[in-house]
């Protein structure tokens, strides 16, 4: 490996270690990737440092023939290194919702959902609310629920949205729920809302997007992680 190749591999490995340590990796991938990212970052740093140290100690030059010098010169690593180090782009939010299909992703076959907790005001992930509204709406009717998400505007409608990711943020799909009165809702940002569902509001025609009546809306800081899985 050429010296610049070693340095780039080491820098990128360091960047992976950094985002694993600070928790920023949750903006891009699932929590389960944490150990893999740590191992990957450590391996990359080792692959870069070991030959560098050897060359420094033994005073040898990096081993590389002219042929693969030429090949390596085309490496485009650097696109990534400054992106992670300097920009650290945020988790996908309201901007990304507008660019994705509007329909909520729901399975074709009935999902078995555990019974709703009996007392109190249960907090439901948006994806779970949509599944329940579709396959088992009866226990939800008349119940107060707590939902967490960020505000998006679609035409006249105000919606609460959350991104669902499977592998990484590139496959993120938005889940949206339509918010209707009576409580006032802030124009943007993250909210925790206390709601009751409007029975029968999620239909194939509206892309299985249920409507909920907002009883109370509280602005909250963005949760960690911001995605549902």
């Amino acid at each position: 490996m050429s010296r610049s190749g070693q340095i780039l591999v080491g820098l990128l490995g360091g960047a992976l270690l950094k985002i694993s340590y600070t928790g920023d990796y949750l903006r891009y991938v699932r929590p389960g990737q944490h150990h893999w990212l740590l191992a990957t970052g450590a391996t990359m740093v080792a692959l870069a440092l070991i030959p560098l140290l050897r060359d420094a100690v033994l005073g040898t030059a990096p081993t590389s023939g002219p042929a693969h010098q030429h090949h390596e010169r085309r490496c485009r690593w650097l696109l990534l290194v400054p992106t992670i180090y300097l920009v650290a782009p945020p988790a996908l939010g309201a901007d990304a919702v507008a660019q994705r299909p509007t329909a909520n992703p729901v399975g074709e076959t009935p999902r078995v959902v555990p019974p709703l907790p009996t007392g109190g005001v249960p907090a439901l992930p948006l994806s779970e609310l949509v599944i329940r509204m579709l396959w088992d709406p009866a226990p939800l009717i008349g119940r107060e629920l707590l939902l967490t998400g960020f505000v998006v505007h679609r035409g006249e409608a105000t919606e609460l949205a959350r991104m669902v990711i499977t592998c990484c943020a590139a496959d993120a799909r938005p889940i949206t729920v339509r918010l209707v009165g009576p409580a006032a809702v802030p124009a943007s940002g993250w909210l925790r809302v206390r709601v009751t569902v409007l029975p029968g509001s999620a239909t194939p025609a509206n892309g299985y997007r249920p409507s909920v009546r907002v009883l109370e809306a509280t602005a909250i800081p963005a949760p960690v992680p911001q995605y549902e899985y």
């Binding site: 490996m1 391996t43 023939g65 010169r73 592998c167």
Partner: protein, 333 residues
């Protein structure tokens, strides 16, 4: 005259060598004003998607180069060709089935297949492995069955379609492919490996693969980002009830979006309005050919390989996916 030529030559050498550090310097100095100018919803989303694609793929790539390095030092170069039967009609399907054993996605399989070719494995067999490994390994099949709980035929159809694609492409390459289409650097044994300790050969091989394959991963990741963010996907719902058109559109979409083979089943499952057959073709095409993969293949095997292999794979994958869907899922619905 001679001095001018010498100055030109050294300037050219400087330009080719200095563009990487120079680019970094410019980026570091200008990044704030640059960011302010680029701070639009699309670029914000794009930056996140780009970093996500790379961060998600790197563990697989590192796993692939470590495996490739282990093959480089652990397996004598003459052994692999002798392990496989001489007849392509037997060797290629065997190599395809060997893909069952490599957990991971497409980023891991390119360096491993590259090492197999450098070690003298017949091209057809190595390419069958390259196509099969990301598509039929257990992780991907389990993810598919989780994404399609009501369609057990989907797992079988995906397995059959992807295996058929890889075996067909392997046999086609064994029959019609020319050795010179694969860049000569892919066949070269490790530089400077003669007479050195195995550990250093391993470190050098893995590091070298990582630096070059990683560059092309980043390149392919940027292409996939532009397409993921730029394609308006809202109109997909209008394809409902048009099976033939949906098959073609989803095949193209699989190429352009370059989703990881462990995640694509969930995206396919979410396209509920489209025919099941089209979504199967999406799953068969995706791991075999997409922009990210093509960039990596181009880096390992060279452009004249990719220009022939990628379009042929797309055609074969669409046909194999459709056939497998008609067999295992029944008529389009």
């Amino acid at each position: 005259m001679r001095t001018i030529a010498a100055v030109c030559a050294s300037l050219r050498a400087l330009a080719t060598r200095a563009w990487i550090p120079g680019g970094v310097l410019v980026a570091v100095l200008c990044w704030r004003p640059l960011l302010a100018a680029l701070d639009t919803p699309i670029t914000r989303t794009g930056a996140t998607v780009f970093v996500a694609i790379c961060v998600q793929a790197l563990p697989f790539l590192v796993f692939g180069v470590l495996l490739s390095g282990a093959i480089a030092v652990g397996v004598p170069a003459a052994m692999l060709p002798r392990l496989l039967p001489a007849r392509p009609a037997v060797a290629v399907p065997l190599a395809g089935l060997a893909g069952l054993a490599l957990p991971g996605c497409e980023c891991a399989s390119v360096p491993v297949a590259g090492r197999l070719i450098a070690h003298g494995t017949p091209d057809g067999a190595a390419l069958a492995f390259l196509l099969a490994a990301p598509a039929i390994n257990p992780t991907v099949l389990v993810a598919t069955s989780v994404a399609f709980p009501g369609e057990p035929g989907m797992v079988l159809a995906r397995f059959a379609g992807s295996l058929a694609t890889s075996v067909c492409m392997g046999l086609l390459w064994a029959r019609f492919g020319r050795p010179e289409w694969i860049a000569s650097r892919a066949r070269r044994p490790l530089p400077g490996s003669a007479g050195r300790a195995r550990f250093w050969v391993f470190v050098e091989a893995a590091g070298h693969d990582l630096a070059s394959a990683g560059g092309f991963l980043v390149l392919g990741g940027s292409a996939a980002t532009v397409l993921t963010v730029g394609l308006p996907l809202g109109w997909l719902d209008r394809l409902a009830g048009r099976p033939a058109l949906s098959v073609l559109v989803l095949a193209m979409l699989a190429v352009l979006l370059a989703l990881c083979s462990e995640a694509d089943a969930f995206v396919a499952a979410s396209l509920t309005n489209l025919p099941l057959l089209a979504r199967l073709v999406f799953l068969v095409v995706g791991p075999a050919v997409d922009v990210k993969l093509a960039a990596q293949q181009c880096g390992t095997f060279g452009p004249s390989f990719t220009a022939r292999f990628a379009p042929a794979t797309l055609l074969v994958a669409v046909l194999a996916g459709t056939a497998s869907g008609l067999i295992f899922l029944g008529p389009p619905r």
